[in-house]
Subunit: 280 residues, 2 copies
Amino acid sequence: MNYEKLVSLIKEKKSFLCVGLDSDPDKIPAFLNNYDDPVFEFNKRIIDATLPFTVAYKPNMAFYESSGSKGWMSLEKTMKYINGLNQAVFTIADAKRGDIGNSASRYAKAFYETLGFDAVTVSPYMGHDSVQPFLNYKDNWTIILALTSNKGSDDFQDLHQYDRNKRGEKLFETVIKKSLTWENSRQIMFVVGATKADMLGKIREIAPDSFFLVPGVGVQGGSLKDVSNAALNKDCGLLINASRSIIFASTDEKFDLAAAFEASKLQKEMEWLLKQKGII
Amino acid sequence: MNYEKLVSLIKEKKSFLCVGLDSDPDKIPAFLNNYDDPVFEFNKRIIDATLPFTVAYKPNMAFYESSGSKGWMSLEKTMKYINGLNQAVFTIADAKRGDIGNSASRYAKAFYETLGFDAVTVSPYMGHDSVQPFLNYKDNWTIILALTSNKGSDDFQDLHQYDRNKRGEKLFETVIKKSLTWENSRQIMFVVGATKADMLGKIREIAPDSFFLVPGVGVQGGSLKDVSNAALNKDCGLLINASRSIIFASTDEKFDLAAAFEASKLQKEMEWLLKQKGII
C-alpha cells in the first residue's frame, strides 16, 4: 500500500487507529483453547469485530515466536485471513529487526514476501546498510525506531551527539534526520512513543511529511488528544496503536464485542480530531 | 552454560570458534532438496563434521524466518539435535531482538525456553528495560550489539556523545560501559566486528573481563590473528564466528568434509594463539 492509498484509507474510515495483535497465548479467553489454533481464532474474531474502526493491524512478533513454529503458523493464517478480506487494511510486522545486509534482505523477504506485510519495524542501531534491504521494496514501508515509549529510551536514544556546530542533538533526532536522506524515504515511518507527547511537536518539525507510528496510548498511559494535537499533519501523518486496551478489554465469550467497543471509542475521538484539523 | 563451563569448554577443545549456521535454503547443496527438510539435513551434516573443532553454533534467524513456519521447524529440529548431542556445545540465536519489557520477555522465552539456546543477540537501542528480561535468565547469556562489522556501523554507533567532562565518547562505548553496570553482567557478551580490529584493543580496555562475539572473519575480511592479538584475555574472552567460509566451502556432496577442513584450519590457528597467550 503506497502513501496515497494509506491517506485515502484513513480519510475513508475516519480513523488512524492501528490495532496491535499482541495475542499472548496465556491471556486470550480460555474457551478458545477448545479450537485447533486458539491464537488464530482469537485474531480472526478481533479482526472481524474491529475492522470497521481501524486502518491497520500490527502483530507483535514476540507473542508468536514464544510458541515457536506453532506461533508462526498462527501468524501465517492471520496474515492470509487479513489479506483475503474484501477491503484493504494496512499491516505492520512489529519485528524490530536489524542486521547486516545479506541477513536484512532475508528478514525483508520473510515479512514482505513470505508473510505478506505492508510494513516492518526495524532498529536503526546498525545503520544505513542494515535498513536499505527493507527500503528496496518500493511499495512497502520501513518503520524505523526513533524515540520509543519505554523508560529505557533515556539510556541511548536521548543521548546528545556532537554535531558540526557543536550544538547538541539527541541520538533519535540524528536517526530521523539521517534516515530522511535515504532513498524511498517517503515510505519510511518513525516509531515515536505516545508517552513522549512533549517531544512529538519537535519531531514533527524535523519530519513534517512523515508518518509516525505511535504506540503507548492506553495501558502505557499516553493521551490520544495530546499526541494528535502535537503531531497531526495535513495528510494525518499518524497511526496510533492500541493493543492490550482493545484486544484484552474483556476475556469472556463476548471479548470481540468489548474490543469493538473500545476501538469504536478511539475511532470516534479520531474522527473528531481529523475534522478539527480540517483533514476530513 | 555458565562462564566457567564456557571457559573450560574452550580450553578442552583448544578452540574459540563459533560456526554460523546461516543456512540459506538457496545456497545449500542442491542434492539435499531430496530430503524432507533440506535445511535441517544440511545443518546436521555441518554439525557432525565441525563439532570437533568448534565450541559454539550460531543460527542466524533471518535465514530461517525467510521460509516462515517451515524455517522455524528446521531450526527447532536443529536445536533439538544439538541439545541431544553427547557433548556440550554453546548455542547462540543470532536474533538481534530488542523491544519493550513485556515483548522482550516473550522473545527471551522464545529463545531460551522454547528453542533451548544458551544465548541471544540483542540490540541495545531501546535501553535497559528492553535488555533486562534477557538478563533475568541467570544461566543464559545476553549478547549486546556494540560495534558491528558492517559499513553502516559508522552511522550511529560511531557518533560521539557528550559526557560530563565534555570529552567525546562514542555511542558503542557508552553502550558497553552502561550495560556493564546492569545486573548479571558477567553473562553479557558484546558483538564487536572483526573488521574493526583497530578498535578491539580499546574495547578490551573498557570491558577487560567480558566475552566478545566477533563476526566478520572470513568472507567479510577480518583477520583472526589481528583480532586475537588485540582482544584475547586470560580466560580467552573471545568467540570468533565464521559462517559462509565454513558452511559454504563447497556445495558438492562432500560439503561436510570441506566445512570440517575449513573449521579445522581455524581451530589449529586458535590453538596456537591460545598457547602463545598462555591460556592453555
